[in-house]
C-alpha cells in the first residue's frame, strides 16, 4: 500500500504530466498528446545534455571497469599485505556526500589558487604561468567530472568484483595452471564467465547512475551560481536539464516530466541491450 502511494503514484502522475503543458504560465495544464516528446526531439539543449551525459559516463565507466577488475584480481589472487587497508581506502571516496565532493574539487581545480595546479607546478610538470584553467575549458570540465566519478566509484565496483571472485573455486585456477594457461587466459576464461552476473549488475547500476548524473555536474563550475552547466554547457546533464525546466524559471513541469520519461526510456533500452549482449556471449 505504501509502495503504491509513495512510488507508483508519483511515477504514473509524472507520466500523465508528460502529456500536458503544465507550467507557471498554464497552471491547469492542457492535454497535448505527444507534443512534449516531439519538442524534446528537436530541443538542441536536450540533445546536448544527452551527449554530455553519455560522454561523462563513458569516460568514467571504462577506466572504472578496468581498474575495478584489475584491483579485484590483484587483491583476491595474490598474497598482498594490508588488503583490507587498500580495500578500505579505495572505497572511502564512495561514501562521501557527492555535493561536498563537487565543491571540494571545485576549489581544488580552480585556476590560480587550486591545489591541483599547485601540485603540477611543484612536481615541475608545468610552470607557474602554464597553470591550466580547468573550469573554463569544456574538455577539462567534462573530463574532471568523469575523473571525480571514477575516483568515487572504482572502489565500489572493485568490492563487488572481489566478493564475486572469492567464490570462484581455486581448483579451477589450479586446473588451468596444469593445462599451461597464463594469468591473462585464466582471467578471461575463468574469472570473467564466473563473475558475469555481478558484471551485469555493475554495468546496469552504473548505467542508471550515469544517466541520472546530477550532484557533481550541478555544483561544479566557475562563478557563484549552481547548475550553470559549465563552459559552453559542457556538463549540462539530462537530470540537470530536467531540474532547470521543472524547478526554476517558467516551471515547465509537463515538459520536464517528458524529459524524465526520455531518461527512463534510454535506461530501459540500454539495459535490455546489455542483457542481450551478455547472454549472447554465453552461447558462443
Amino acid at each position: 500500500m505504501f509502495f503504491i502511494v509513495l512510488q507508483l503514484y508519483p511515477l504514473i502522475y509524472t507520466l500523465f504530466l508528460s502529456f500536458t503543458n503544465l507550467s507557471t504560465a498554464n497552471p491547469q495544464g492542457d492535454f497535448i498528446g505527444l507534443g512534449n516528446y516531439i519538442r524534446l526531439s528537436q530541443d538542441k539543449f536536450f540533445l546536448l545534455s544527452v551527449k554530455n551525459t553519455w560522454r561523462i559516463w563513458i569516460v568514467c565507466f571504462i577506466p572504472q571497469l578496468i581498474f575495478a577488475l584489475l584491483l579485484a584480481t590483484i587483491l583476491t589472487r595474490s598474497k598482498i599485505k594490508g588488503k583490507d587497508v587498500f580495500r578500505g581506502v579505495y572505497f572511502l571516496p564512495n561514501l562521501v556526500t557527492a555535493a561536498s565532493v563537487g565543491i571540494l574539487f571545485n576549489v581544488l581545480l580552480s585556476w590560480q589558487s587550486g591545489a591541483i595546479n599547485q601540485i603540477l607546478v611543484a612536481l615541475r610538470i608545468i610552470t607557474e604561468d602554464q597553470k591550466i584553467h580547468f573550469l573554463a575549458s569544456p574538455f577539462w570540465t567534462s573530463t574532471a567530472v568523469s575523473v571525480i566519478l571514477w575516483w568515487m566509484w572504482f572502489g565500489h565496483s572493485m568490492i563487488l568484483f572481489m566478493a564475486a571472485m572469492v567464490s570462484v573455486p581455486q581448483t579451477y585456477y589450479d586446473a588451468a595452471a596444469v593445462d599451461g594457461a597464463n594469468a591473462w587466459q585464466a582471467f578471461w576464461k575463468i574469472t570473467v564467465p564466473q563473475i558475469k552476473p555481478v558484471m551485469i549488475y555493475v554495468l546496469v547500476t552504473s548505467l542508471i547512475g550515469g544517466m541520472n548524473n546530477f550532484d557533481i555536474p550541478f555544483v561544479i563550475g566557475e562563478g557563484q551560481n549552481l547548475g550553470t552547466g559549465g563552459p559552453l554547457k559542457s556538463v549540462l546533464t539530462m537530470v540537470m536539464y530536467l531540474y532547470n525546466m521543472a524547478f526554476t524559471g517558467g516551471r515547465q513541469r509537463g515538459y520536464a516530466a517528458a524529459i524524465a520519461f526520455a531518461i527512463f526510456f534510454i535506461v530501459i533500452v540500454c539495459s535490455v541491450i546489455i542483457f542481450k549482449l551478455m547472454s549472447r556471449e554465453e552461447e558462443s
Partner: protein, 285 residues
C-alpha cells in the same frame, strides 16, 4: 643441482620486482584516493593568503580564524542537525517497516505475494529522479512540502531494504519457531516484535547503515522539496558555499571538511558492515 639453484634465485628476483611494482601501483592509487581529503583538511587550517600562495603538506595556523569566518555567514551545524534528524528518522522507519514488509513476504502465502514482490523489485530499477516531479506535486497536495515529512515518509517503502531482509528472513528465521509462538497464542505483531525482529537484527543493522548514508548524502530531493534556509540539509548548505564565502578559500575548505570528516571517522569504525552490506545486495540478485 647448481642449475636449479640459479633458476630459483632468478625466479625470486622477478617475483620481487613484480611484487614491488604491484605495491607501488597499489600505494600510488591509495595516495590518489586520499590526497583530496588530506589537502582539504590541511587547507581548512590555512589562511586564504597561504592557500593562494601554494600547496603545503603541514597544517597552518588559521584553524580558529577559518572556523569563525565560516560560522559568521552560515550556520553549518544547523544543517548538520537537520541532516541528522532526517537521516535517523528515515533509517528507523526503513528498518522497522522494511523488516515488517519483508516478514510478510517471507512467511505469509497471501494472494499475489510473488507478483507484488516482483513489482517492488522492479521499483528498485527505477531511479528516484524519475518520479520526482510527481512526488513534488503529491507532497504539495498533502501539504507536507517544505517539511521533513516529505523526506522521511518515503523511507517507509524502501525497496532494497525489503528485498535484502526478505532473503535474510528466508534463511535465518525458522518456520517451526513461528509455529511454536502461534501455538502459545502470541499475536502476529507480537511474534514479529519479540521473536523475528531480534533474530534479524544483524541484517537490519547492515541495511540501516547503508540507508543512513544514502539519506545523509541525498542532495536533489531535499533541494527540490525544502525552501526555508533554516531547514536546509548539509549537502544543500555545502553546495551554497561557493556563493557564500566567495574568495575566502579557508572558510570554504573548512565547511567542506566539516561535512566530510565525520563520514571518514564513521567509515573507519563501520567499514566491515558497510562493505558486507553493499556486496550482499549485488550477489543475491
Amino acid at each position: 643441482m647448481k642449475k636449479s639453484n640459479i633458476r630459483k634465485t632468478k625466479f625470486n628476483a622477478r617475483a620481487f620486482a613484480g611484487n614491488f611494482f604491484l605495491y607501488l601501483f597499489l600505494i600510488v592509487l591509495a595516495i590518489i584516493c586520499f590526497t583530496p581529503f588530506y589537502i582539504m583538511i590541511i587547507n581548512a587550517t590555512r589562511s586564504t593568503q597561504a592557500i593562494n600562495a601554494g600547496i603545503s603538506l603541514i597544517p597552518g595556523k588559521a584553524l580558529v580564524e577559518n572556523y569563525k569566518s565560516m560560522m559568521a555567514s552560515m550556520n553549518i551545524w544547523k544543517g548538520f542537525l537537520n541532516s541528522l534528524i532526517i537521516a535517523i528518522s528515515s533509517t528507523l522507519l526503513s528498518a522497522y517497516f522494511g523488516a515488517l514488509t519483508a516478514y510478510a513476504f517471507s512467511k505469509f502465502r497471501f494472494k499475489g505475494n510473488k507478483a507484488l514482490f516482483w513489482f517492488i523489485l522492479g521499483t528498485m530499477m527505477i531511479p528516484p529522479q524519475l518520479g520526482l516531479i510527481g512526488y513534488y506535486i503529491l507532497t504539495a497536495r498533502l501539504h507536507i512540502i517544505n517539511t521533513y515529512w516529505a523526506l522521511i515518509l518515503p523511507a517507509v517503502a524502501n525497496a532494497s531494504t525489503v528485498f535484502f531482509l526478505k532473503m535474510y528472513i528466508d534463511t535465518n528465521v525458522n518456520e517451526s519457531l513461528l509455529e511454536a509462538a502461534r501455538v502459545d497464542g502470541s499475536s502476529e505483531i507480537y511474534t514479529f516484535n519479540r521473536i523475528v525482529f531480534p533474530i534479524i537484527l544483524p541484517g537490519v543493522a547492515t541495511m540501516s547503515i547503508l540507508n543512513f548514508i544514502v539519506s545523509w548524502n541525498n542532495y536533489l530531493t531535499p533541494l527540490v522539496l525544502l525552501f526555508d534556509k533554516d531547514k536546509f540539509t548539509l549537502p544543500i548548505l555545502i553546495a551554497l558555499v561557493k556563493g557564500t564565502y566567495k574568495q575566502n578559500l579557508g572558510a570554504q575548505y573548512m565547511a567542506v571538511a566539516i561535512s566530510i570528516v565525520p563520514i571518514i571517522i564513521a567509515f573507519t569504525f563501520l567499514s566491515k558492515y558497510i562493505i558486507s552490506g553493499i556486496t550482499a545486495g549485488a550477489l543475491k540478485e
